[in-house]
Symmetry: C2
């Protein structure tokens, strides 16, 4: 293991899904404005919505409508999250073949989130992967609560690894480890990523991190140091529950770009355009965003010397 | 360079100085209450105040008074920041022999902060170190704006290294690199720490970081990975200007403890006691603290399964 960093990473913008899902619903037009701003950042991959229960997640009830607009941005690779076969069918029918199938690795979270056990969620993988492939898309398995569950506590590594191994056996093309409640730290991140890689050789393993307890960006660094290049982030750090000030959001795209570009790792994103996009997001949701970098006004811009009088 | 982590680090609590210095003054009694809470965390080193202009920093105008109370905590190693010979004399006269002498490595910041050039600040080092030593204390040089200056922009590495080398030549016992405006990132942190170490063999080099742009904890990780064990942090992440919501504070002690202990690095601090101390600080300053971990209610505490109805 070394701290040599890869030359480049491939970020995925998840603000339109994981950022907005707990917000009060915003109009489709506002989402398209965000998409315009996100496209201008230079990001290549965008998680654009999820096909889940419209009553449980009203903020993303317009999944079909937003997917119908995506031809406007031919340079972007879009994907949508699904939590089961029904959502996968809706996504494909709507014209979205790239599926992120979320599997909670703890029964507690799986039951709360999708009303079924992890075992039942894993069993649906083959059908969902086939749907994506038949539609010409990719299927990624996102392993939710990969480190810790809010109900069941810390997840044994062998349990997450086993879900990963089986999902790959059922045909998913890549994996993403989700720190759903923002609890992991660099040491634990590295241990799990390496264990999953060993069990699933040749399969790309990405990470989906939250900054809830302040370790999000340090986890990005640790992940990148061991060669993880698939990293989720949300412009402005949007996400988490807006009604619980303590529940901070996704790691902020601009903070990831600032940290990595400043350390010599190319992201392909233009930091000033990411900050512009954060301003668009902030207007759309109507409240402050958690990103420190955004609130600080971006990178340092030296001013003239004005000695204290 | 490897990501093998040291077995332990030695944190310094700086909330009473760098955390409080821009706050509205609070009573001495409130500071002593914070000190009680800080002592209970298990931290070994505390930066307790600064001896600087009382009119410029009214929040720390009671430096003599707080130093007079420190016998209450015989297990702690206290130090105070000084910005020149006058402050150093005041500190020693007050009974505080351990001095942190802050030298701004840019002329722009040095003139704004201490009304003199870096050269003049460096020239005072020998006298200040001698004062500390004659009083039986240690003298640490804190190099402010070691990476970036708000006036002069990025600082050439050779400039910071040269200030470090000369300060050591003038007798300081250890060094601390200050990311005063919270701009550095892991790659730049490692480069400068290694350059300073090479120029000052055998001298301990610590870091003083801010989380202004979200990279603070990632910089802690990067520093620890290259064997830095002297790390400054403030309970609750207090610091920065309370009148500028974007200017976030020092890295939060509890976030450092959470990150490092969870990654197998001993800090000697009890996380729950650090969170208790943050609550004391929050009451004392009367406003929210920036620490994500504190606002999230601390580490995860699993609850019983309550599936979505």
């Amino acid at each position: 293991m070394s701290t040599a960093l890869p030359a480049a990473v491939d970020l995925r913008e998840v603000g339109l899904r994981d950022g907005l899902q707990l917000e009060a619903p915003i109009p489709l037009e506002a989402k398209l404005e965000i998409l315009d701003a996100v496209a201008a950042t230079g990001v290549r991959r965008v998680e654009v919505t999820s096909f889940v229960s419209r009553s449980a997640v009203p903020a993303l009830a317009d999944a079909e409508q937003i997917v119908a607009e995506l031809d406007r941005w031919p340079g972007l690779e879009f994907s949508a999250l699904v939590a089961g076969l029904g959502g996968a069918r809706r996504a494909v029918a709507a014209g979205m073949p790239n599926l992120e199938y979320v599997i909670s690795v703890s029964d507690g979270h799986s039951l709360a989130n999708a009303r079924r056990t992890t075992e039942d969620a894993v069993a649906a993988t083959a059908d969902i992967a086939r749907l994506a492939h038949d539609a010409g898309g990719l299927c990624e398995a996102i392993l939710a609560v990969a480190w810790d569950c809010p109900f069941d506590g810390p997840i044994p590594i062998r349990r997450t690894v086993e879900v990963a191994r089986r999902a790959v056996g059922f045909g998913v093309d890549r994996l993403c480890l989700g720190d759903t409640i923002g609890t992991t730290v660099p040491g634990r991140l590295v241990t799990l990523v390496e264990a999953v890689r060993e069990a699933c050789p040749g399969v790309q393993v990405g990470v989906h991190l939250h900054n809830t307890r302040g370790s999000g960006l340090a986890c990005v660094l640790a992940a990148v140091q061991i060669g993880v290049t698939q990293i989720d982030a949300a412009v402005g750090g949007l996400g988490g529950c807006p009604f619980a000030p303590g529940a901070s959001g996704n790691i902020a795209t601009e903070e990831v770009v600032y940290l990595l570009e400043g350390s010599g790792v190319a992201t392909g994103l233009d930091l000033d355009r990411v900050l512009d996009a954060a301003a668009v997001v902030e207007r759309a949701v109507g409240h402050d965003l958690p990103s420190n970098l955004y609130r600080a006004g971006g990178p340092p811009r030296p001013r003239s010397v004005t000695p204290a009088g």
